[in-house]
Amino acid sequence: MTDTRISLTTKGGGVRADRLFRFSALAAGLLVLAILALILVTTSREAWPVFADEGLSFLTSKTWDPASNEFGALAFVYGTVIVSLISLLIAVPVSLGIALFLTELAPRRLRAPAVTVIDLLAAIPSVVFGLWGILVVAPALYKLYQALHDTLGGVPVIGSLFGTPVGGGRSFMTAGIILAIMIIPIITSISREVFATVPSSDKQAAYALGATRWEMIKGAVFPHSFGGLVGAVMLGLGRAMGETIAVALTIGAATQITPNLFAGGNAMPSVIVLEFSESTGEWTAALIGLGVFLFVITVLVNVLARLVVNRAEIRMKGAVA
C-alpha cells in the first residue's frame, strides 16, 4: 500500500517562494514612497545653489533675468495662479452641471454616450489641446478679446482686466480656457461619484415636501456632497497647476505681472519646459527649483484633496447606514 498521508505543516518547499513573493510585492508598493522621496531629495539638491543664492526672494522677486543671474519667480507664480483661477471658474460650473446631468437628469440610454464624451475628452493628449489652442483658438479669440477690450476696457476697476489684447491672442485667458477644457473630465468624474452617494431617501424626502427638481438638488444633493465637491475642485486645481505643454503653447511666454487677462504671461511648469533646453548653470538650477516648488504645492493640494474626499465619503457612508 502506498502512503497517502500528506503534510499539512508549513514546512517543506515553497515557504521560501512565498516569502520571496511577499517581499517583492512589498518592495513594489514601497517603490511609490521611494520615488516620491527621491523626487524631493534629488531635485532639491540640484536646485540648492539657487535656493541658497536667492533665499526667499526666489518666490517674492519679480526679476527673472538669466543674463545677470537673478531669479525671482513671482511672475510665474502669478501666472499659475491666474490661469488656474480662470480655468476653475469655467470648469467647475460646467463639470458640476455635467455630473448633475449624469446623476439626476439624464435618461438611462443617454448616460453611457455622455460618459463616453467625458472619457474621450480625458483621452486627448494635452499637446493636441495645445496645438489646437495656439493655431485655432487663440487667433479666433483675439477678435473677441478686441471687442471686449473696446466695450469694457474703459470701465473703471474691472477695465484693467480687459486691457489691450496681445497680438495672436496667446494670453492668460486663452491658456485658462484651454486648461478648463482639460480639467473638466477629472472634476466631473469625482463629483459624479460624490453625487452618487447622496441617499435616495433624502432626495425623495425633498420631493415629498413639494420641492422642484432644482430645489431638491439645492436642498438635498448639494449640502450632502459639499465636502466631496471641495475635494473634486482641489484635484482639478492640482491638475491645472501642473499642466505644462498646453499652457506653454497658449500663454504667450512673457515674464510680466499684469491684471490684463488678454496679455501674455508665463506659468511655472511652462517656463520650465520653454527655457530648459537653452539654460545653463544657475539658470537650470532655478528652473529645477521651480519644479521643486511646484512638486511641494501639488503634493500638498493633492494630499488635502484626498483627505477631504475620504472624510466626506466616510461621513456619507455613516449617513446612509
Binding site: D18, R22, A25, G29, I35, V127
Partner: protein
C-alpha cells in the same frame, strides 16, 4: 381659499407652483443639460480640426519618411517619432505594469488596511497628481546628469507616471475577485503566492489589462518629460541608450514654429498620435467588455 365643508383636494399639479419657482427650475434644468453641450463642443471641434488638417498631410510617405532637420522646409515624415513613441512607451509599460501589478498585489492581498498599506495607497493617489514636468526633472537630475539624454530616460519618466495609475486600477480589479476563490485555492493546499498567481491574477487579468492600456494611452501622449530627457533625432533610432524623439515632442516643436509647413506637420503628427491613443483605448475597452462577462 374658500372654506368648504369637506376639504378640497390640494392641487399637487405643476400648475400650483409659483411662477418664480417654475422658472427657476426650468432655467436650472436647462443649464445642467447645456453643461454637457459645453463639453461636447470643444471635443467635436478638436476632433474635426485634427482630422481635417491632419488628413491634408497624411500619406504613406508621411508615416515612413525621416524628419526634416529644418522646420522651415516642407515635406519629411514622422517615422522616427512614431518608432520613438512606440519604443519609449512600450519600454515604460514593460517597467511600470509588472511593478504596478506587484504593488497592487501587496495592497490588496497582503497590506489590506494596515497603516503602511494605507499610506502607500494615499501616496499612489498623490503620485498620480504629480505634474509630468516634475517627473521629467526628476529623471533629468538622476539619470540624464549621470549618463546622457536617451530614449531610456524618457521611458523611465513615463514609467514613473504610469506606475501609480497601474497600481490603483489593478488594486480595484483585485478587490473584485471573490474571496471564495482565494479560500478554495488555499483550502486545496496552495500557497499564498500560488493562489495569487494562478487564481487571483487570472480572474482579474482583463480588468488589469484594460487599466494598463489606459495608462499606456495616457503615457503615449505625454510631452513635457520627453522634451526634457530624450533630446531629439531626425532618423529612426532603435537603440534606447541613444537620444530619441516622440510624436508629442514633434507636435510641440512644430506647433510653436511660425512656418505653415511646420504647423501642417504638427497636425499630421497629432492625427497619428490620436490614432495610436484611440487604438490603445479601444483595445482596452474591447478586452474589458469581452472578458468581464465571461468571468462570472
Amino acid at each position: 381659499m374658500t372654506v368648504a365643508v369637506t376639504p378640497a383636494p390640494v392641487d399637487l399639479t405643476r400648475a400650483a407652483l409659483s411662477v418664480r419657482r417654475r422658472i427657476v427650475n426650468r432655467i436650472a434644468t436647462l443649464a445642467i443639460a447645456l453643461a454637457l453641450l459645453v463639453a461636447l463642443v470643444p471635443l467635436a471641434l478638436v476632433t474635426y480640426t485634427v482630422v481635417s488638417k491632419g488628413l491634408d498631410v497624411m500619406s504613406w510617405r508621411f508615416l515612413t519618411d525621416n524628419i526634416v532637420n529644418s522646420p522651415r522646409r516642407a515635406g519629411g515624415g514622422m517615422w522616427p517619432a512614431i518608432l520613438g513613441t512606440l519604443l519609449i512607451t512600450g519600454t515604460a509599460a514593460l517597467m511600470a505594469i509588472p511593478l504596478g501589478v506587484f504593488g497592487a498585489i501587496y495592497l490588496n492581498e497582503y497590506g489590506k488596511q494596515k497603516p503602511l498599506a494605507r499610506v502607500i495607497r494615499t501616496m499612489a493617489d498623490v503620485m498620480t497628481g504629480v505634474p509630468s514636468i516634475v517627473m521629467g526633472l526628476f529623471i533629468y537630475v538622476t539619470v540624464v546628469l549621470a549618463f546622457n539624454q536617451s530614449g531610456l530616460a524618457g521611458a523611465l519618466a513615463l514609467a514613473c507616471l504610469m506606475l501609480p495609475v497601474v497600481i490603483r486600477s489593478s488594486e480595484e480589479m483585485f478587490r473584485l475577485v471573490p474571496d471564495e476563490l482565494r479560500q478554495a485555492s488555499l483550502a486545496l493546499g496552495a500557497r499564498r503566492w500560488r493562489t495569487t498567481v494562478t487564481v487571483v491574477l487570472p480572474a482579474a487579468i482583463s480588468g488589469i489589462t484594460s487599466g494598463a492600456m489606459l495608462a499606456i494611452a495616457r503615457a503615449a501622449g505625454e510631452t513635457a518629460p520627453v522634451v526634457l530627457v530624450t533630446a531629439i533625432v531626425f532618423r529612426p533610432e532603435w537603440n534606447l541608450l541613444e537620444p530619441n524623439t516622440t510624436l508629442p515632442q514633434q507636435i510641440f516643436n512644430n506647433a510653436s514654429q511660425p512656418f505653415a509647413v511646420a504647423n501642417q506637420r504638427a497636425w499630421g503628427a497629432a492625427l497619428t498620435l490620436i490614432a495610436i491613443v484611440l487604438l490603445a483605448t479601444l483595445i482596452a475597452r474591447f478586452i474589458a467588455s469581452r472578458y468581464s462577462i465571461k468571468e462570472r
